[in-house]
Amino acid sequence: MKDDTYDGPILEIDSLSISFFTRLREIPAVMDFSCRVRPGEAMGLVGESGCGKSTVALGVMQDLGVNGRIVGGSIKFKGRELNDMSPTELRHIRGREIAMIYQEPMASLNPAMKIGKQLMEVPMIHDGVGEKEAYARALEVVTDVRLPDPKRMLDAYPHQLSGGQQQRIVIAMALMANPSLLILDEPTTALDVTVEAAVVELVKDLGKKYGTSMLFISHNLGLVLETCDRICVMYSGEAVETGSIEDVFDKMRHPYTQALFRSIPLPGADKHSRPLVAIPGNFPLPHERPPGCNFGPRCDYFETGRCDAQEIKMHNVEGDERHRSRCIRFEEIDWNAPIAASIKQEKAPIGDVVLKVDNLKKYYEVAASALFSSGQKKVVKANETLSFEARESETLAIVGESGCGKSTLAKVLMGLETATDGHVVLDNRSIEAVPIEERGTKTISSIQMVFQNPFDTLNPSMTVGRQIIRALEVFKIGKNDAERRQRMLDLLDLVKLPRAFADRMPRQLSGGQKQRVGIARAFAGGARIVVADEPVSALDVSVQAAVTDLLMEIQRNEKTTLLFISHDLSIVRYLSDRVMVMYLGHVVEIGSTDQIFSPPYHPYTEALLSAVPIADTSVKKRHIVLEGDIPSAMNPPPGCPFQTRCRWKSEVPGNLCETEVPPMKTLATGHQSKCHLSDEVLARMEPVIEMPGAELAAPAVENKAEA
């Protein structure tokens, strides 16, 4: 039975090393990793992909697979050594004392079993309780994770729930056995921002309520700030800095942590005056780590003969509690020095209107019955009366969560779908009804797209150069093969890739490099409008900055109009000139970046802003958690699309919100909002994000605060 008298640290990891053994060599995945989680404490484990953070979690679960071995150190759970436990003892601990929540909720649930049964299994197996008691407990936990109608939930199959609901069930399942330690491996990465915010809020509250210790693995610094008490930053298999959230965020003592913070778009960053600083170089492969400090080759403070001379140990930072850094120079570095003179970029003047979308509608007809297609038909309104303009050299961000219709909009612009109604005007010509087969080469090459998933954007069985040349061939650029090859090499220069990459296969490239090839391909025909569909969201933060800057630079030089689709408002704030917020096929708000990010807001924009985690301890943010999930586009609510989740609904007299779609209302020049709220209510709105002292922020941000 559970040992409730123990009051030491829940989890003590001491100089843990984990390696994977392949036929060729030993690959060290985690080296000399130490951390300590006290009861009720939440520990954040942060790092880029491949840094070993998930391996640590698997090591704690003693589930490293056939090739993985713990090659040194100890993992103590409640004072007992996990490394020496027999499989039977481990089985008792897993699931009951240590529970794990994975990234993909659907993968953790058995699709053939009802939710209730899966939940009831946990106490029935671990504590041997009866069915009735287990059911009562399941009902209680499902209520705790704030799912509507818990009884019905228990009787549902996993596929009948939305992604957010599934993740809540997974959390409920982890809590069923009332574990002492909860390991969360990127629990919200697969979810939308507003849903993510709600799940994070839930995890925080439950941690308090149940007194559970947590190991929270994430690549998102903002999320860790919101959920954890302590943080451990990992780089290439090592913990490089660990300490309390405040110490690490405000007084970082490791160059990697600093570089990481400089490469993410915090509210103060601006693409012209304070551009992001990407970390130079690439993440070292596990078997090609440099001698000495792993971060050495990419570090600004690198000193030959010292940093690469010996293994670097963790050093205590004097004056802080349990704040340690793996840097031998941390006492010499001036941590408050301003960012090395970054080149200020001149803002390119915004030109004429290139693309004009007017009242665009795209409806899909879905047959209600698969067998008799002539029967009833359902209409999915993917895009509903979209209107906007995009100018030369302008970045228009399109923001919204999944199902908001942004991908459909991209398809209509590209010509993969034709519009149901309305106009898309490019160079005074309507193209909304012209499918791509009937478009001329010039039209096609002037609207191109950059895709989201770098691992999917290139054809894996064609060389990089060949793929770019193919685009040139299709766009009829260059008279012969030699000319096209030359142009292809120029394009590789443009995206700052070595020319030798022309003969490489895509699998030999990293994610960021593939994304650069994707950009080169999009610009092959001299594209004037580029639709970038979340081009950096699948990349690591340090790479994100570099790719974003590349896009910006090409845009400045080529005077491209960039339609930047994203759900990440921090990056949108950093790089866009104007923002368009979409919800369920409607444009709910459109305006310049300053107008969108300051009140008056559309209620949905307000919630979105609040949901975005910000990795800055000084920023104050109001918490607005949206209830429920995004309604299905098959079955949208009547009236205002957002009325089911809106917290301002009570401010509108009568049942206007439920009956009538609000008209587009102009709030200021270029700022429009689709909401019934009256002007005085809008005037009452307070800013969601409050920046302390303007001296931190660049002038551009001050303007934002005034606006």
């Binding site: 096609i444 999917d456 054809n459």
Partner: protein, 505 residues
């Protein structure tokens, strides 16, 4: 002359050794099972301080080691038999095993060369090279290559002609000396004679050639047809997909054997059904090739002009010559002469000339063989079609396909150059497996006496012939049966190896 013994001069030493190996293996195997039943386990790996892994071995590990070495020694003994067969001068000393081993000398040499080269350069050979990282794959590849090389070197290996009859040797056991044949003939029937007095060994070797030409070719055509139909069905979807899938399901639901019986019925042959089917099935690959080349090189007219068009024309001639025995050049020439001689009675001359000229290119496929070919393609292509369609449905959702669409590529380019190359992994594996099925299918056909020439040394027919006297003379059907077994086994192992290695990337 005395009949040969099985093991020749090496037998007295090696036979007890091999018997010992078998006994050790069986004993170790039983002990191992007993130990695992009483709860003894294999050694867990221990990580040392210097990051190496070692094992503390226990009794079950020693049993496994004993089994492993017993297998090695057994295989070594077989190697010595073969080497002995090659090196020893007299047939008596070689024995039957040694003699057969010596006949396969060209195969051994080629196998060694292929393996040495492949392993030396395996890092540069892509998926094929990776096969040599995988023991299962290597064994499978070895078995397959053994029979491929046997087919290639068949005339050098075979001791007699496949249909040469020496009437005194009917049903004689393996190792019987030849008497009564031509003077310069090989002096022994190594694996005995069959019911008509033909050499079993030579027939098996010659059968390899028959099986290995038809099976891969027929499978290749089945793939061409399956791919040509599966790509548009999966990619374009809608009604076309429903229609083709329906047809494929119908063909799949039809009993295969019944279909074969129908196809060889004289009335159906006279009605020309096989020829029509061949006409339809064989035209698809040509269309496939043309679309493949055209969609890719649309922007390079010189390649279209000098490579694609001549190649497709050549194949069309080949197609007409093979399926319809029709040569358009002869037809045009005679017509032209006929035109010049208008008014003269040349009609009869034209007809005879056209009939007597063999088409310039095109293989004169035996009618029976054509039926076999058509039926194998017909039966296999629906399955291939379903695999291709499933793969296409998956791959067409990838971003690189969307990228191709947004730059205005045509559907055929996307299907053939963006989707098909990325479906190759599962298709190559299925190709290997399917050659195996086809080989068995050919055996089955031969077994029923369908399709192929009754004299043919085809393994299936040979097994069928030997079946009648199986209880009295088991030696004639066994060698072809073992040959069929090892080849299909090899193909399966090869497919397993390829699948494993292609997943590792």
């Amino acid at each position: 002359m005395d009949p040969l013994t099985w093991s020749g001069s090496l037998g007295p030493f090696l036979n007890p050794l091999m018997l010992g190996c078998v006994l050790v293996f069986v004993a170790a195997f039983i002990l191992n099972i007993v130990m695992s039943l009483i709860g003894m386990r294999q050694a867990e790996p221990i990580v040392n301080a210097d990051h190496t892994i070692s094992y503390r071995l226990g009794a079950p590990d020693y049993m496994l080691l004993a089994m492993k070495w017993a297998v090695f020694v057994f295989l070594g003994a077989i190697m010595i038999y073969i080497l002995g067969g090659i090196l020893q001068p007299s047939m008596e000393a070689k024995g039957i095993i040694g003699g057969v081993g010596a006949q396969f000398l060209p195969v051994w040499i080629s196998l060694i060369v292929i393996y040495a080269l492949s392993i030396r350069f395996k890092r540069r050979l892509g998926l094929y090279g990776k096969l040599f990282d995988n023991l299962i794959g290597m064994i499978g590849f070895g078995l397959v290559m053994f029979w491929v090389l046997t087919a290639i070197f068949a005339p050098m290996i075979a001791t007699h002609g496949p249909i040469d009859v020496i009437s005194g040797l009917r049903n004689d056991p393996p190792g019987t000396p030849v008497s009564g044949g031509p003077e310069d003939a090989f002096p022994y029937y190594l694996l005995g004679g069959d019911a008509l007095g033909r050499d079993v060994f030579s027939r098996m070797v010659a059968g390899a050639r028959e099986v290995l030409t038809i099976a891969p070719l027929a499978t290749l055509f089945a793939f061409m047809v399956g791919i040509t139909l599966g790509l548009p069905a999966g990619y374009l979807g809608s009604r076309l997909d429903t229609f083709i899938t329906f047809i494929a399901n119908m063909v799949l639901a039809f009993p295969v054997i019944l279909l074969f019986y129908l196809l060889v019925t004289p009335e159906i042959i006279e009605a020309g059904v096989p020829v029509y089917m061949a006409a339809v099935l064989f035209v698809l690959p040509i269309g496939f090739l043309w679309v493949l080349l055209y969609s890719r090189f649309r922007a390079q007219p010189h390649i279209i002009k000098w490579v694609a068009i001549p190649l497709v024309l050549l194949l069309t001639l080949f197609y007409l010559g093979t399926v319809f025995r029709f040569d358009p050049i002869v037809w045009l020439a005679t017509s032209f002469i006929g035109y010049l001689n208008q008014g003269n009675p040349v009609g009869e001359w034209m007809q005879t000339t056209r009939d007597s000229y063999e088409p310039l290119i095109g293989i004169n496929i035996d009618g029976n063989l054509l039926i076999v070919f058509v039926s194998v393609v017909f039966v296999n292509s629906p399955t291939v079609y379903r695999i291709v369609r499933g793969l296409v449905l998956d791959i067409k959702t990838r971003d690189y396909v969307a990228a191709a669409q947004t730059r205005g590529e045509g559907p055929w380019y996307i299907m053939l150059w963006e989707i098909l190359p990325n479906a190759r992994g599962p298709l190559i594996v299925d190709f290997c497996l399917r050659i195996g099925y086809t080989t068995i299918l050919l055996g089955t056909l031969g077994f029923f006496g369908l399709g192929v020439d009754p004299e043919s040394p085809n393994w299936g027919s040979t097994i069928n012939e030997g079946r009648r006297l199986l209880t009295v003379y088991p030696h004639p059907p066994l060698p072809p049966a073992l040959a069929l077994l090892t080849m299909v086994l090899g193909l399966n192992l090869l497919a397993d190896g390829l699948r494993e290695e292609s997943l590792k990337d």
